[in-house]
């Protein structure tokens, strides 16, 4: 096992830990706002670690660039989705007359 493969395994495993944390957060957190943390923080970090791990074994330069491109795109997508959902929930609770800080 070369040093590259070892690093790759290490980073992928830590990415897996973050995904596990994200899933646990999705299931265990009490309300919608806190569940959004699982989406925007834990899973994006997990994806970042897995991308980082795969870069070590990706091979050619174009493939590496594609891999590196995927992470910021996924982050843009999920963070804006988080904003939309949070905005939506906030509007709903405000319309119902429930104040929630």
């Amino acid at each position: 096992m070369t040093i590259n493969e070892l690093l790759s395994v290490l980073f992928c495993l830590s990415g897996g830990v973050f995904f596990l944390a994200g899933t646990a957060g999705l299931i265990r957190f009490p309300d919608t706002y806190s569940r959004l943390h699982a989406l925007t923080k834990a899973d994006n970090l997990g994806l970042g670690f897995i991308v980082l791990g795969l870069i070590f074994v990706a091979g050619s330069l174009p493939e590496t660039i594609k891999l590196v491109l995927i992470w910021p795109l996924a982050m843009i997508g999920s963070s804006s989705a988080c904003y939309f959902i949070a905005n939506h929930v906030h509007r709903l609770t405000r319309n119902k007359g429930i104040t929630r800080d």
Binding site: L73, I76, Y83, F84
Partner: protein, 305 residues
């Protein structure tokens, strides 16, 4: 490990499908259906069909989600039925059907090769290097041609139901807030780029007219979601030209080869012909799918009693 992965994906597909059918809440069923598409694309990946995984990614994650969410918003949100979703009298015939089909699967011979040798033998006759694209655009060009016809019929049907003649007057969603406009400004050029890249890739690697068209369609729908009329900006004539250009280019190719070689849709000698047909088909697929999504929301213009 392969076997474990296959078992897990298969079981989760069946379970998710069962939950989709069994759930009372319609919104829950739609979200589960989006997840179903995701797991299905993992199965396509495992079965070494990257073309289908790409198409499923664009259709399942993008277009189908938008269509069903729109439909949930438009149709009345009546709560699910209080009785059990699946009656028992239906369960037994379906179980029998499933077991008959499963037993039939056992009789598929192990060394069943299908059409692989034929396709690979004929691949030297065509100017395309990637077999799936060669099948789509050359060997089974009739299928692709009529498939474009089906898309056109679907668009005409939707236009007929909505009683509208073009999508230029179709209802716009409320303009997205600054964040929505910002992400669309970032994501849209990348999506158009990927659509073109997939189209270019199709001659020698997984990609091609269908995948490129679906990705471009998703880009158009996303633009529309930001409150921009996207294709609705076009004059009606240009919109019709874009809708029909794929179908018409196949028609022209058919007649051209009929006069030159005596057979309809024979192998064109020149690679430019195939590329032209492929590009026209991509534009038509994208235009048809965008029109289908854009034309559906809102009420009908004329209400008859």
């Amino acid at each position: 490990m392969n076997l474990a992965f296959d078992l897990l994906v298969g079981l989760s597909l069946v379970w998710v499908a069962w939950r989709i059918v069994g759930s009372r809440d319609h919104f829950q069923a739609v979200v589960l259906f989006i997840t179903f598409g995701l797991i299905l694309s993992l199965a396509w990946t495992r079965l070494q069909s990257p073309d289908i995984a790409i198409a499923e990614a664009a259709v399942g994650a993008g277009l189908a989600g938008v269509l069903f969410m729109d439909a949930l918003g438009g149709l009345s949100s009546s709560p699910g039925s209080p009785r059990p979703a699946v009656p028992l009298t239906l369960l037994f015939p379906c179980l029998i059907l499933a077991s008959i089909m499963a037993i039939a699967v056992l009789f598929v011979p192990e060394d069943f090769l299908g059409l692989i040798p034929v396709v690979h033998g004929a691949l030297t006759d065509t100017s395309l290097e990637y077999p799936v694209t060669a099948v789509l655009l050359d060997f089974r060009a009739y299928d692709t041609w009529l498939e474009l016809g089906v898309l056109l019929v679907a668009v005409l049907g939707v236009m007929g139901i909505r009683r509208i003649g073009s999508i230029s007057g179709s209802r716009l969603p409320a303009p997205a807030d600054p964040v929505g406009r910002w992400i669309i400004r970032i994501l849209l050029p990348i999506m158009v780029l990927i659509g073109g890249y997939l189209l270019w890739l199709g001659a020698f690697a997984p990609g091609g007219a269908f995948q490129g068209g679906v990705v471009l369609a998703a880009a158009g729908v996303m633009l529309w979601q930001a409150g921009h009329p996207s294709l609705g900006l076009l004059p009606r004539l240009w919109w019709i030209v874009l809708l029909f250009c794929g179908f018409l280019s196949f028609l022209i190719l058919a007649f051209w080869s009929l006069f030159h070689s005596g057979r309809m849709l024979a192998h064109p000698e020149n690679k430019l012909w195939i590329l032209g047909v492929e590009y026209a088909a991509t534009i038509s697929i994208a235009t048809c799918l965008i029109s289908l999504v854009l034309a559906s929301p809102g009420r009908c213009r004329v209400r008859d009693n």
